[in-house]
Symmetry: C2
Subunit: 428 residues, 2 copies
């Protein structure tokens, strides 16, 4: 440790100064509004959870490599939540008697993963989670397809900027069984290979395939299946197709708003049927922005009552990158509306009284804390984004008046003290 | 581990179901609005910080007993933040070049303390933090006195419900030196004794005094000082009084809005001058609700540039208890405005279209996911707090119409599909 403590935030975490925070808040406020207009209610849960709730069903990568863990003095093994889905399943299971299904909930937790920091990956991020519990109808999938497009539209994105790809584990299983004839014990590895398909060059994929024991002809067949995309679906048995929510979605109008892609995998073990990912459509950034799916067995880890679930998480880092790439980030909001400036030490109290009047009228107002030259104070007010300054001068004040100056037009008027708030409000 | 995973949140932490979350959000939304009208901007920082930033200046109790700590794979000793002040001082010090002082900031972080859970104490709480950096003028104290009263008023509290007690460590030091003649090495212990004064009975205080080596006559003098309250201040030397912000506040109009109480201590080591606490005034609950003070040396731990600071943190648990005691908790908000109900399976798509129209008009709307009897769906809509249902029936729909029913009056009207949103909005 040097002479001073370090000022950088812990590696992979972020400080948000007000300008950055304002952008983040505006973006998420738009999302809250869209989500709420779909009838979803906000809930919240703790950062610390028992480690075992992740060991049960999250991905191996998360549990073995990315979990921040600690043990409390009572010997409880705790983790900083890496995602919200196990928490929300726990909360649902613990409150079955209080809830009327279907339950539409959302949250905006901070989540923690011990990752090597790089573009799009941090160790603490803020993630919008939207979940629906209590229905196994494919109407849930349709509702989420509408919701996701509405959320993207709420952020200013048009449908050419992103692609909503949807798959179904029921169909993927049938592809494995009926078409690729993959052994049960190889499935996880082949699914992993599919997950990496677009990220790796062919020779790397071929080497990986060899390593997990796929023959050259199987690998070739796998490549054909990937290339076929949704064209593979008619080759599957009626039985497999009948059990698939995705096939039902394909028979609804929502079909036009997704790209059917049987090879979307997603890493979590708890998904049971449809899974989806939203990709950035811009060629230089074909990354997954967020994704989710159906998890009909997760609540069953906590309770005898099985409750089907569907949901997704949308992290702030990839989302902000997307908005930045497409020029959709909002401007930071201004800081104040008005500054009340006394021209002498003796006028600080009257300035505070005027400021209190402005604040009571909802005008964001500051007053200086130390005496300074009027010009300097006006410059500061302008820099802070104030629209108006209210100057409390000796002569004016003795006559019960103040001067209101519009910092945009430069015009000013002398108004009676009780009318100051109205005069400023007219400018905003 | 039993057959099922536990559904309770980790001991001392809380799940917030939507009704509880709605109350929490409404309370804090009111506070955000008041704080912003005083010109404060929101910032944010990470949950994980290097442990050393707390070791430097937080209270011993926090560091030795209450910190959740862990070590990452890079060997960094980390803590879950127990409070926000060290983080905000770090962020200020790291961004001196970007900032124009005075800086008015606020935040609403979750903070963590390993405490024995009891009334008013939890292990994760949400804390509003408001801080001002860059001025050593007592105008800062005056601004905070106004802000705190405005925040309490924003919550519906009147000034008879709470007391804002303010002290000054400069004066406390002078009381120790000039009146009580406490040795330097005893000060911390005597300050601790003062902090406990109102919580413990006299014989317990006397025993504590004896244990720290205070003679009976010194203890009697201490009791006199406590009883004197602000009457002790004129006995202090001019020099001590001249260095005190509290004496300056006592010469301003803000004097009338505080109770001067030289014996308010607060546990944090970083306070340098004024400290305050807001107490519940109700006799059955004379607890400290929140507090803060001036810390002019904290930024100096991170930087050669000293930046004076003043701020406070207000936790959700004690605040909610206070609001509950005084009948000031808001009602949970309703969940949805309207439910669009199709009377047959074939009408789900038209119902979704009508729902989309309502949502575009800002009406919080759901549609059923499964077919059910109309009466049952209406009952559900009513229970969810909807004001209206929109019934999409076969005959109606064939004629381009729908029925809008007001769930409060029971009245209904048949309207053309494009007018549904307007008809519902009129009811809200």
């Amino acid at each position: 440790m040097g002479k001073y403590l370090p000022t950088e935030p812990y590696r992979g975490t972020r400080d948000f100064l007000p300008e950055e925070m304002s952008v983040r808040q505006q973006v998420f406020q738009r999302l809250y509004e869209v989500i709420e207009v779909f009838g979803y209610q906000r809930y919240d849960g703790p950062v610390l959870e028992l480690t075992e709730i992740y060991e049960a069903k999250s991905s191996r990568e998360i549990v073995e490599q990315q979990l921040y863990t600690l043990t409390d003095r009572g010997g409880r093994r705790l983790a900083l939540r890496p995602e919200m889905t196990p928490s929300v399943a726990r909360i649902i299971a613990g409150n079955l008697g209080r809830l009327t299904f279907p339950v539409r909930w959302y949250s905006h937790p901070n989540c923690f993963r011990y990752e090597r920091p790089q573009r799009g990956r941090v160790r603490e991020h803020w993630q919008i989670n939207v979940d629906l519990f209590g229905s196994s109808s494919s109407a849930v999938e349709v509702e989420f397809i509408e919701l996701i497009h509405a959320m993207m539209a709420g952020l200013g994105a048009t449908e050419d900027m992103y692609v909503l790809r949807m798959s179904d584990r029921v169909l993927l299983d049938a592809i494995f069984t009926e078409i690729l004839e993959v052994e049960d014990e190889q499935r996880r590895q082949v699914a992993g290979l599919l997950d990496r398909w677009e990220k790796y060059p062919e020779d790397k994929l071929r080497a990986d395939a060899e390593e997990i024991g796929l023959s050259e002809s199987r690998f070739a067949r796998l490549r054909e299946v990937v290339q076929a995309g949704e064209e593979i679906l008619p080759e599957l048995s009626e039985q497999a197709r009948a059990g698939s929510k995705l096939i039902e979605v394909m028979n609804s109008r929502a079909r036009d708003r997704i790209k059917v892609d049987p090879l979307i995998v997603r890493g979590f073990d708890y998904y049971t049927s449809t899974v989806f990912e939203v990709f950035d459509a811009s060629p230089q950034n074909r990354r997954s922005l967020f994704g989710g799916g159906r998890y009909d067995n997760l609540v069953g880890l906590y309770s005898a009552q099985a409750v089907p679930g569907f949901g997704f998480g949308m992290g702030d880092v990839t989302l902000m990158d997307f908005l930045s790439t497409h020029g959709l980030l909002p401007e930071p909001a201004n800081k104040v509306d008005a500054v009340v400036i006394p021209t002498a030490e003796a006028l600080f109290e009257p300035a505070r009284t005027a400021a209190a009047q402005l604040r009571a009228a909802g005008v964001r107002t500051t007053t200086p804390l130390e005496s300074a030259k009027l010009g300097k104070e006006i410059g500061r007010a302008d820099k802070a984004g104030a629209r108006a300054v209210v100057i409390i001068g000796e002569q004016d004040h003795a006559e019960g008046m103040a001067t209101v100056r519009d910092l945009v037009s430069g015009e000013q008027e002398r108004v009676a003290l009780p009318d100051v708030a109205n005069a400023v409000r007219k400018l905003l």
